[in-house]
Symmetry: C2
Subunit: 345 residues, 2 copies
Amino acid sequence: MASSSSSDSSAPQTPQLRKDSVTNRWVIFSPARAKRPSDFKSKSPVNPNQQHQQQCPFCIGHEHECAPEIFRVPPDNPDWKLRVIQNLYPALSRDIPAAEEGNNSDSGRVVVNGFGFHDVVIETPVHSVQLSDLSPREIGEVLVTYTRRIKQLMSYDSIKYVQVFKNHGASAGASMSHSHSQIMALPVVPPAVATRLGSMKEYFDQTGKCSVCESNSKDLLIDVSAHFISIVPFAATFPFEMWIIPLDHSSHFHELDSEKAVELGGILKLVLRKMSLQLNNPPFNFMVQTSPLGDNASQLLYSHWFMQIVPQLSVVAGFEMGTGCYINPVFPEDAAKVLREVKVS
Amino acid sequence: MASSSSSDSSAPQTPQLRKDSVTNRWVIFSPARAKRPSDFKSKSPVNPNQQHQQQCPFCIGHEHECAPEIFRVPPDNPDWKLRVIQNLYPALSRDIPAAEEGNNSDSGRVVVNGFGFHDVVIETPVHSVQLSDLSPREIGEVLVTYTRRIKQLMSYDSIKYVQVFKNHGASAGASMSHSHSQIMALPVVPPAVATRLGSMKEYFDQTGKCSVCESNSKDLLIDVSAHFISIVPFAATFPFEMWIIPLDHSSHFHELDSEKAVELGGILKLVLRKMSLQLNNPPFNFMVQTSPLGDNASQLLYSHWFMQIVPQLSVVAGFEMGTGCYINPVFPEDAAKVLREVKVS
Ligand SMILES: Nc1ncnc2c1ncn2[C@@H]1O[C@H](COP(=O)(O)OP(=O)(O)O[C@H]2O[C@H](CO)[C@@H](O)[C@H](O)[C@H]2O)[C@@H](O)[C@H]1O
Ligand SMILES: Nc1ncnc2c1ncn2[C@@H]1O[C@H](COP(=O)(O)OP(=O)(O)O[C@H]2O[C@H](CO)[C@@H](O)[C@H](O)[C@H]2O)[C@@H](O)[C@H]1O
């Protein structure tokens, strides 16, 4: 366990720039920013469920309004608990060749065919149920479904990375209010993943240790179970950003077994409920941060998957777009303390 | 001028991944995505000016409600046209020492004092006036004001980069509706800037050419003036993203002279008006993309400043946060054609 740079008491109150060895991204921590006024109306934190069940293609009984199904749980059962379907408006196409890079080196322009997979996971048959309403066992089934689909997608040589993510609420980008997540299989290793891997490798080369194994410290801890911890990362990009980390070093999320999936379901449910109670049911995103597919034995030593959960509390604007730096008004030690102490009944 | 990879006719309709040699960022172009429905209420494109002039600290006559002034134009005149002031809720502090990096290499955690400057440029004394309402000459004065402030900030050795940006409209992050922009001086070279510089260098090393000089091509052009062009970049991160590029190779925005500033003011005004007419007055951000400060003679060969203008039409969600890849439903050739043809009276 790494020692923390600040003491156990509260976080510093002058601004600070931080960078960790996982994301390798500068974040400005600035408590003064939290106090600034706004003369625009504030966004409603609540997510209105505007569509009635009759009109929602993701509801049970509306399967014919969806793009083709990939599988359902339980199989062949009209009374399904969850479904993996094709995205009807896919960002990538499974029907075009996975061509080689078309690098026009003289113009510096690189073009690759948009081959890939874009699926939707419908997490529940019922419109009014949210992921955090499910039991740890049921959330575990959603997580195992992700792993099962990733294992199918791995069979395509040209797929280099699979991104699992969830958008909840309109200002977190969701266009559908029925509880769902998405799985995208990409023909390239995306830039944020390459940066993360490079940063983890550099730390490993310097210290012989895994940077995610080391990211645990008492003042950043939220909760702990037998095989997982939830923390606020040391250089959290966003206020109240949370990570769930498997305690045993493991590179690939899809290696999660069904027993641990139930445990992960429990700690994810706890984190989502704490966030909801503390922050007034905010819109949020979660992302599975895993490792690229394909053989790379040395990568297994320094890469360690985790889940990143981000409540949508602020807007990314000109400064962040221009610099790739982020401004976070809440020190991670303070956010962790608050989240540690939320009472969930 | 680089030849374009697609012909002059319309853009391809299957998805495509693109990367250019400036941002070096994968973008997925996916026309199918534009058609997806949403069951959430859509955001209003209009920016309500909710605060009355009486309550706005940026309005003329309310100078005492603002943080200290740095300078005004014209100087010492109560009837000012624009003011540069300190940000009352600064992300960085000018009052703490610019300490050395505190790298705790064992924990992989890097901490730097949050030394820096965070200013606001009030672009007009009048609450109801927007930047694009000003004349090219007046916009030129705003641009010259940016350069003048950057030159002051350059005198601090510990300042490595200055980011100029503007947020317009609540969903583009603005908390104040009175027309303004911001200037932040940073003690580190931010990651997006380092990536851009690295990418430009790599292209220069391979070809001997500047990647920004080469980014001009007929099918991506919007407008042209004596010393500037406006284009949609080949791998635009966002739909209808636009760049204004000086035709003469130049690394640093702050070297703009006052004559060219008026010309730049004119082409910026044109681009903002076209965007507003075509896209129904959307919230937007603009960013000056310039080069780090300090001596680096070889950098001058391959780095070239430009202005990036981004209308806020979509939400960055789980996929983008997880991967650093972006999904853009509008092919740049199509956006450029539309913007080329907008009639501005
Ligand atoms: N009948 C049907 N059958 C099958 N699929 C259907 C369907 N009707 C709709 N869909 C798909 O269901 C998905 C719902 O996804 P989300 O609500 O999580 O956000 P979306 O992908 O729209 O965009 C958000 O997430 C992406 C990725 O992060 C961002 O690019 C974007 O800006 C943000 O709004 C959509 O992708 C849609 O194409
Ligand atoms: N009386 C006064 N005197 C001096 N200054 C005053 C003042 N009253 C307010 N201010 C300052 O004026 C600025 C107005 O800036 P903007 O409206 O462009 O967005 P803001 O910086 O709030 O945040 C947006 O931009 C930042 C940076 O991109 C994002 O981090 C953030 O999420 C997004 O909402 C604020 O920074 C505020 O601190």
